[in-house]
Symmetry: C2
Subunit: 223 residues, 2 copies
């Protein structure tokens, strides 16, 4: 059995979990707060980040969310999420990197820092100007997703792919933390509404961080 | 013919170029200074980063250095650089991400900002404390590479892989900018010395940014 080290609002873990759920790969959740920098966790991953997956029977440790996704794409054929021609696959990987790097840096990371880590690790108030900046960036990112969905059925092309999973993972964390204004983004909203109903993704929306409540519409596909 | 948009000290482009050279894939270099944010370049890559590759005959645009490497791994069989078992491949991808993300953020990016971009784009003096911090981080990173090479012939295992290319790419830029102190890192030095002699990598060491000279030993495999 795979063990998956994570915390409920880790966007990279959400991408991996949705992929594992799509592929029907079983795993056991292990709670890890990477900001505590637990020694045994740093030994597994010197980068100190979630997710990390281990399988003691196989003697395998997997680190880095994209390396984990590529591993399961290679080893579990069912439901390919890096699919299509080599050029399609390059476009999927470009967009996964876009959400993992740019959306995370501009939107998810400041929201997590200000609204979660400051609260639970440091008992500090959030920096209002950094929050405003993140929410402004979120509007720009949703504009870009609208642009992509104006040309395509899914984010990277005509079929669902890891790019959709990566986007939904980041958005779901930002939305939990009140960082997404859905007004004016009809295409992204309709795409995300369909995503919320997926069997692979719905369970993630039911999880809570104690002391931080998501908006009332959070789990509702009709929002 | 592929066209590759880049500037001489872009570490991500150096990783891609070494891979293309190993695989004997031809390409034409197109000079791009991403900090100028040229409109036509932003249209190709909204992330505004090098490298970008285009092939007008094929009608393909490739963006994101890891997506580019995966594309050529998939389409050009010769000299596989993401090789071995699925677990080996995961370890290669973990380490590529380590160098692309952590080494870059801690070492290469501050050196590029302070010693190159401030000079050529802003005509400003570098921030000495940020440079000291980057050089201190470089020591920690070389300690980690020494640790890896104490267990393995190459950075990710028993054969050369994309992890070596990613590490050498970052190190070669940091070394050009005077950020690497080679004393006390015998294993990394011996690995890099061998790397400097590779036909795929040597041409990169001959390139110069006008007005910024590398250390005198820069191209010498015996340093």
């Amino acid at each position: 059995m795979w063990q998956l080290y994570q915390f409920p609002l880790c966007p990279f873990t959400r991408k991996v979990r949705t992929l594992l759920n799509e592929k029907d790969v079983g795993y056991q959740l292990m709670r890890e707060n990477p900001w505590e920098r637990r020694d045994a966790f740093i030994d597994m991953n010197p980068a100190g980040q979630t997710p990390v997956m281990t399988d003691n029977e196989r003697g395998v440790v997997l680190v880095d969310s994209m390396a984990i996704c590529e591993y399961f794409e290679e080893t579990v054929e069912r439901v390919a999420m890096i699919n299509g021609t080599a050029a399609n696959r390059a476009e999927i990987r470009r967009l996964v990197s876009w959400f993992d790097t740019h959306f995370y840096r501009d939107v998810t990371q400041p929201l997590l820092d200000e609204r979660m880590i400051k609260r639970i690790a440091h008992r500090m108030a959030p920096d209002a100007s950094r929050l405003r900046e993140a929410m402004k960036s979120a509007v720009g990112h949703l504009d870009y997703i609208d642009f992509l969905l104006d040309h395509r059925k899914w984010i990277a092309g005509s079929t669902i792919s890891l790019a959709d999973l990566a986007a939904a993972a980041q958005i779901s964390v930002a939305d939990y933390l009140g960082g997404i204004d859905w007004a004016g983004h009809a295409l992204t909203k309709s795409w995300y509404s369909a995503f919320k109903s997926r069997r692979s993704f719905r369970p993630l929306l039911a999880e809570r961080i104690s002391g931080i409540e998501p908006p009332s519409y959070y789990e509702n596909p009709d929002f």
